[in-house]
């Protein structure tokens, strides 16, 4: 059994045009500030994509009013998902800092 920290979370996305270019960059940047592996999906059954891959997140094209599912494995997994859920619930208004972790 692995003792690595695991977490799952979901957030309802109301952003007016969905996960388009600017929100995608913010989400990816925020994911990259955490050491855990983080994945994103539109359903609990997946398919899951790497939330740290800007190419994957941008191609994901999640529309407005969809539930985003997150899962994370590794250090600070819970903290990472809490931050990502907050970003989505705050409608991507939060500035993701100029410096990476």
């Amino acid at each position: 059994m692995s003792d690595r920290e695991k977490a799952t979370a979901s957030a309802f996305m109301t952003h007016e045009v969905g996960l388009h270019a600017r929100p995608s960059v913010k989400l990816t940047k925020l994911a990259k500030t955490f050491p855990a592996g983080i994945q994103l999906a539109l359903s609990e059954e997946g398919p899951w994509i790497d939330a740290k891959s800007i190419v994957r997140v941008m191609a994901f094209q999640a529309p407005q009013n969809t539930m985003l599912y997150f899962r994370a494995v590794g250090d600070r997994a819970e903290e990472a998902l809490a931050a990502l859920v907050k970003l989505v619930e705050d409608d991507f208004e939060v500035e993701v800092g100029g410096e990476s972790a």
Binding site: T33, V96, S100
Partner: protein
């Protein structure tokens, strides 16, 4: 000097180069070294080796820089600009085979997270058809 890979945008049009750089700045922020250039020495559409060399110097990072270029001459002039760099810098300056605007955003986002030169280039090139 930044420890993040720098981004250099080269277009035939100064306006396209600046607009692309504006998008990178707004979407990704100021933490990634960024420079842009466009236009020939007479101010018309085209590219200029000397301007590209200056842009590379402006965006220089010890982690290296990637160039995003538009059409034909932008690529050949960028190759010439790289050859004019000091030898120790030449291996750390690479041209991405990627669309200008999309490639610049993708590369800058990856660079922001502290990725290596090879990773930044690969991310930009993921967009291109195999």
């Amino acid at each position: 000097m930044s420890d993040k890979v720098g981004i250099v945008i080269v277009s035939h049009s100064p306006e396209v180069a600046k607009g692309t750089a504006d998008m990178v700045r707004q979407m990704v922020g100021a933490a990634v070294p960024l420079a842009h250039c466009g236009g020939n020495p007479d101010g018309g559409l085209g590219t200029d080796v000397a301007k590209i060399v200056t842009a590379i110097e402006d965006a220089w990072s010890e982690a290296g820089i990637v160039l995003l270029v538009d059409l034909g001459g932008a690529e050949t002039n960028s190759e010439m600009a790289i050859e004019m760099l000091p030898e120790e810098r030449q291996a750390k300056a690479v041209i991405c085979n990627a669309p200008l605007v999309e490639g610049a955003i993708m590369a800058a986002t990856e660079a922001w997270g502290g990725a290596s030169l090879a990773e930044v280039r690969a991310t930009a090139e993921e967009l291109s058809p195999a």
